[in-house]
């Protein structure tokens, strides 16, 4: 092999190695990250509520995914009017409690699923956005394989991620990169009232294996985690509060990022 060709090959190799880091976002949950090797940014991801009662959990999971994919840019949340009536409005204070900055969110209400898809098609070409969440309630003819393929192409073209949140619907054929089926997971018996905790099944993964994990959303660093073994948080703080005082500035700094 001649020298330039060799150089080119090695460059390509190094590019390949570094590429996943550019285009993929780790979830933060070790088990899921090992299987997924990061969530691809330029792609469509689907989140289904396992049962009717899991719509809030699925919304939380979708919000978490979108937050990871956004990386600080704005997020457009499109939802059907009826879905808001049925499952409740997206709550600004609730997002804040999850560590998602409310001013970064733009909400759009539409009447029909096809309006939502149309708006999403437009929004996915807006490179100022980080991600678009499309919340659709029930089964719709408009939401077929072609429609998801169109969304997938749009994400690949302009690099804005799409999260399709399906409430009250059965999983159907689609072109999505991943599909998650989410239900609420109970808190450990010793706790009072738990963190946002999901029983998430990765039911489809175009580039790898599937799996099922219990994940907990950490609002402080905005990522998913394995549920803490210790029911009192990651580490029991000393009663005198010395550790807490020491860790303040550092934690603040992480917040700002």
């Amino acid at each position: 092999m001649s020298r330039p060709a060799h150089l080119l090959a090695s460059l390509r190799q190094s590019l390949e190695r570094s590429e996943p880091n550019l285009a993929c976002v780790p979830l933060g949950h070790a088990g899921a990250d090992e299987v997924l090797r990061g969530l691809r940014r330029e792609a469509l991801h689907e989140v289904y509520a396992a049962e009717a009662g899991d719509s809030a959990a699925a919304s939380g999971f979708a919000a978490g995914l979108a937050h990871r994919l956004c990386a600080g840019r704005s997020l457009l949340w499109i939802r059907q009017e009826f879905s808001a009536l049925e499952h409740g409005e997206i709550n600004g204070s609730g997002l804040l409690e999850l560590g998602i900055d409310p001013p970064k969110i733009i909400l759009l209400r539409v009447d029909h699923a096809k309006d939502a898809l149309k708006a999403a098609g437009d929004a996915l070409s807006c490179t100022g956005l980080g991600a678009v969440v499309i919340e659709i309630y029930g089964e719709h003819k408009a939401l077929d394989l072609t429609a998801t393929r169109r969304l997938m192409f749009a994400t690949e073209r302009d690099g804005v991620s799409a999260v399709l949140l399906r409430l009250g619907a059965e999983a159907d054929a689609s072109a999505a990169e991943t599909r998650w089926i989410v239900r609420s997971a109970p808190s450990p018996a010793e706790d009072d009232f738990g963190f946002a905790r999901f029983d998430a099944t990765l039911a489809r993964n175009r580039h790898g294996q599937t799996g099922r994990w219990i994940m907990e959303w950490n609002g402080n660093d905005g990522s998913f985690h394995e549920p803490a073994e210790n029911p009192f948080g990651l580490a029991a703080a000393p009663a005198d509060g010395s550790l807490a005082a020491e860790s303040w500035p550092k934690e603040d700094w992480r917040w700002a990022g």
Partner: protein, 499 residues
């Protein structure tokens, strides 16, 4: 120089004499009479029974004032093509402020004739006149149609009109006639202080308006746009692409004007004048002042695409006008290459597009509210109007604590049944919501939220909020309305669901 034209419609006549009746003080009276009836001596205000006695073959139609008004509004819409300043002069007249526009139509005489001819062709009987003030134009259009008073010579033009032309209250006109003053010229020749002493200041003011000595402001039907540009087409446009192209050219013209004035528009209205007289207005708004023709054209395309009843060109549009309102100062924009600023601009443009397509109320942003009432704190406002506020977001939970506010908040708290809870402050043990029973495994609370007494008229009960988790891990935000001390049987509600 300010000129006004007042076209006047009376109605069209069939074969039999026709009068329109109106019920006035429990008696049917004539509201309007057509030419033939007028020739037979029927006048408005006459009792209908008398009229029937005088003219046995009489067609009588009942008056329909709302339809009359609607028709007048439509004619006014049509007249918008001559000037943006059109005012209704009810019941039968329109006032057009044609200051500075007459040259577009070949002069004052030609403008007057155009209005007359085009309205007559639509089947109206029209009387036009033009003068420097609204009152003079109105008097001339009623009593000397076709007159165009020379600038500053209104007093001469109306001198020979009867005093009735002043349209004063009935009593005053009568008194003037009894005093021997039959024409406006005779009244005008009297000393002002005499007239004021006898008839009051108002009458003298009105007289001065009529004589062109002072001016009465005309209130236009719509606020005047700050800037506008228009295209007239010899061959009416019917193709949507051509319409859009024309809008884009108008936006470019308007953009140049706005730039010259250092302004940008927050609201743009496109007015489509159909060849057959129908007029349609479409409006788009932007979050930030803009004068970029490409943006404006794109917003109109979105708006046109989303119309529930599409823009029907019929036989085509012969005039398209673009108006810019709410023009705000916009400093010369330096193209910014900073990624953040570019992203913000991209997002603002997206918001405008979505608002044009789906309506401004449907594109929202969260804005922190200075209240602790959960449903009021969660208000999202239209994104185009959301600006920076002094109120800051305030996290409820402590660090490393679970969320204290739900991700999804029900628009209206829903009552729950079969609640089993121990008084006074215990969380429920179980409840039933939307036909599903939930047994509670974990609970946290109460968080007591008193209603803000300064906002509500009547006393609102205090709420005790609980965060509960059922055995399947579903997390709810419940509250009990009223303390046990306040009410005997407090009601329970679910207000939100946690992720």
């Amino acid at each position: 120089m300010r000129r006004k034209a007042g076209p006047k419609k009376i109605g069209d006549g069939p074969d039999k004499p026709l009068v329109v009746s109106i019920k006035n003080d429990n008696a049917l009276r004539i509201y309007a009479a057509d030419r033939q009836a007028a020739r037979l001596g029927l006048k408005s205000g006459m009792a209908l029974a008398d009229a029937r006695a005088m003219v046995p073959v009489l067609d009588v139609a009942e008056s329909d004032l709302p339809s009359d008004r609607a028709l007048l509004e439509k004619i006014a819409d049509w007249c918008d093509r001559f000037t943006p300043l059109v005012a209704l002069d009810e019941p039968h007249g329109l006032l057009l402020d044609v200051t500075g526009v007459d040259h577009l139509f070949g002069g004052e005489r030609a403008l007057c004739e155009t209005v007359h001819m085009k309205l007559s062709r639509q089947g109206f009987i029209v009387q036009c006149a033009m003068a420097g003030t609204a009152v003079a134009a109105r008097a001339l259009s009623h009593y000397a149609p076709g007159t165009i008073a020379l600038p500053g010579k209104e007093d001469e033009a109306i001198a020979n009109l009867p005093v009735a032309a002043l349209q004063l209250d009935g009593g005053i006109a009568h008194s003037l006639r009894r005093a021997g003053l039959k024409t406006i010229g005779q009244v005008a020749a009297r000393k002002r202080n005499e007239l004021t002493a006898r008839f009051g200041k108002e009458m003298v003011g009105h007289l001065d308006h009529a004589l062109g000595h002072s001016e009465e402001p005309v209130s236009p039907r719509r606020p005047l746009p700050d800037f506008m540009a228009e295209h007239r087409f010899a061959e009416p446009l019917t193709v949507q692409d051509a319409i859009l192209a024309s809008l884009k050219m108008l936006a470019e013209t308007l953009g140049e004007v706005l730039e010259k004035h250092g302004r940008g528009a927050r609201e743009m209205t496109a007015v489509f004048f159909r060849a057959d007289g129908a007029v349609r207005r479409l409006c788009v708004q932007t979050g930030a002042p803009t004068r970029d023709a490409a943006i404006i054209a794109r917003l109109f395309r979105e708006r046109l695409d989303s119309l529930a009843d599409p823009l029907d060109p019929g036989f085509g549009f012969d005039l398209i006008r673009l108006e810019a309102s709410c023009a705000e100062n916009q400093t010369e924009e330096t193209p910014s290459f900073e990624a953040d600023a570019r992203a913000a601009r991209d997002v603002a443009f997206l918001v405008d597009r979505l608002a044009a397509r789906f309506g401004a109320q449907r594109v929202q942003r969260f804005q922190p509210q200075d209240t602790h009432i959960p449903e009021a704190a969660a208000v999202a406002v239209p994104a185009q109007y959301a600006g920076p506020t002094k109120t800051a977001w305030h996290m409820q939970r402590g660090k490393d604590d679970p969320p204290r506010r739900p991700l999804r908040l029900l628009a209206k708290p829903e009552p729950i049944e079969d609640v089993m809870a121990l008084a006074p402050d215990s969380p429920p043990k179980r409840f039933k919501w939307r036909q599903v029973r939930h047994s509670i495994a974990h609970a946290e609370g109460p968080e007591r939220i008193a209603m803000e007494w300064w906002r509500h008229q009547e006393q609102m009960p205090t709420r005790d909020y609980f965060r509960v988790e059922d055995e399947e891990g579903r997390r709810f935000w419940l509250y009990r309305e009223g303390l046990y001390a306040e009410t005997r049987e407090p009601k329970w509600f679910v207000h939100g669901v946690f992720a």
